[in-house]
Amino acid sequence: MSGMLDRFPKICRLAFLACLFVFSMSFSAWWIENSAYLPQSDAKSIYDIAVRAKNHDLLPIAPTGSYMSLCPYQAGLVLFMESILRFVPNANEVTIQRIYLLFIALLWISILMSVKKLFSSSRICVISCVLFTFCFPVLLYVNNMYGDVPCIALTFFAFWMLTEYLAGNKRWGVFFAWIALAGAVAIRKNSLIFVLACIIVLVISLFGTWERKIMILLAVIITSTVAGAVIPGSIYEHRAKNTMGEGIPAIAYIAMGLQWSEGRDPGGWNGYHSDLYMNCDYDEEMTAQISKESVKESLGYMMEHPEYMAKFFFYKLVTQWTREDFGCIYATLGSHGNRTDKAWEIYQGAIKDDYMFVMSIHQSLVYAGALCFCFGAFIRKRKWTGNGLELWNLVPLITFIGGFLFSLMWEAGARYVLPYFVLLIPYAAAGLVKIGCVVETFGKNAFCHWTKGIKKEGGEAV
């Protein structure tokens, strides 16, 4: 077998990885061109504001009566889209989607390099790449301009860069991590859970050691997060010479996340937060006060009816975390240009079932693989993790735990949990590889024992 191994040089693995990479990119590109998806709802509002901002029309930057008055935290995504519209000649919706292709490439490479740093095993690297290449929800979301793909890519890239600095003291890692984290936070605010996970781990590591390296990283993470959260809104307010107000308070999203409207998933969007904010005449304090009462009322009802509470949270988790496609098929179904027949088949035709089947299997594999890793690392400790599993290696897992808890209370949506699912891929790969090792070692030992017995019997017979 070792001879067989020698016949598969490194170049073959690299060629295999290159094939996976090309498949991811070409499938995503094909999907953008064939799905001909045009943004709708929030993504459309953001795109329209970006187009107007490019043409120096900043009327949407106002404390009332605008999408930005409701969601000022989307200023980062508006700035991102406006930058593309400004820098690329004749840019439109499809141009932005094509830029998202670059983020698919960045995500692919970041996963590969992060896993290489974490586990130092090329086999786990390859399996991670296989799992990501067939993670169709991410590839199919490439045409959705709501910032999910760039945010996931920048988060993973930031993790890779931070790990480079921690592991190898590479200073350029700090620079790129700062930019990536600021970008991720500016584009999507759910990257804050990753930031929080990093801060928790670094603070724990800091106690007792007071290493300069960790202090630098903490400073980088905190400053980049503040920059990503504050700068885009400030830029627009400065340009418009107006404010956007406070926006819908977070507690209103939590209040909506604890409601179960008829005909909707538990905790799903029902327009409560935006309606309330507008009915309160864009008064953030009053909205927060009423939302708090709504939260108390929902929790009070749940405490009185524990069966309802169990059912509510169970289905809230199930509808978010076990949806095979993470909503990618439904999210981009409507509002389209000249969509091709092949793309329609994925949306509503016979191929849809095949894709759903693959996504379903993939989802089970990622969860089961990550479970195997956690279980093995918990039970076998060093044997499963080489020379010892560092707490930093668990940052993506801590982010997943944070995301899981966050999904219990926030507005429910399968798309919102996709980043945490992608963060599980390295652990899933490690878990699958290790389970393979365990089974084969067990099989080898059993077979050796069996053959020894046969030899012994044969010897005795002779």
């Binding site: 690392a377 080489g386 599993l389």
Partner: protein
């Protein structure tokens, strides 16, 4: 439908373990452990790691079970189990030299 699903599951399980047995006979090289893991810091804070892993096990066990049970339709459950088993339990395909360290 349930009987069909059961037979399918049974067939796939038998095939899986037969295939595994063949693989085990073929695979006589030591399992490559992740032994080249690089140190980033000192091997500290073991109880924090164990807490994280324990919570991870708890949540992932829930998700693994519900992701299998709550697939698009009940019939797919058998496919899920049957198809996942060769890969999860066997891992034989992962032992292909192409994936080897």
């Amino acid at each position: 439908m349930a009987i069909l699903a059961f037979y399918e599951f049974l067939t796939l399980t038998i095939l899986t373990w037969f295939w595994l047995w063949i693989r085990m006979k073929e695979s006589f090289y030591e399992c490559e452990s992740i032994k080249r893991g690089k140190h980033m810091h000192k091997n500290n804070s073991s109880w924090q790691r164990e807490i994280v892993l324990f919570i991870g096990i708890f949540f992932l066990l829930f998700l693994t079970i519900v992701s299998i049970l709550f697939s698009s339709d009940g019939y797919k459950v058998s496919f899920h189990l049957g198809m996942s088993m060769p890969i999860i339990a066997g891992g034989g395909v992962l032992r292909h030299p192409l994936f080897f360290c």
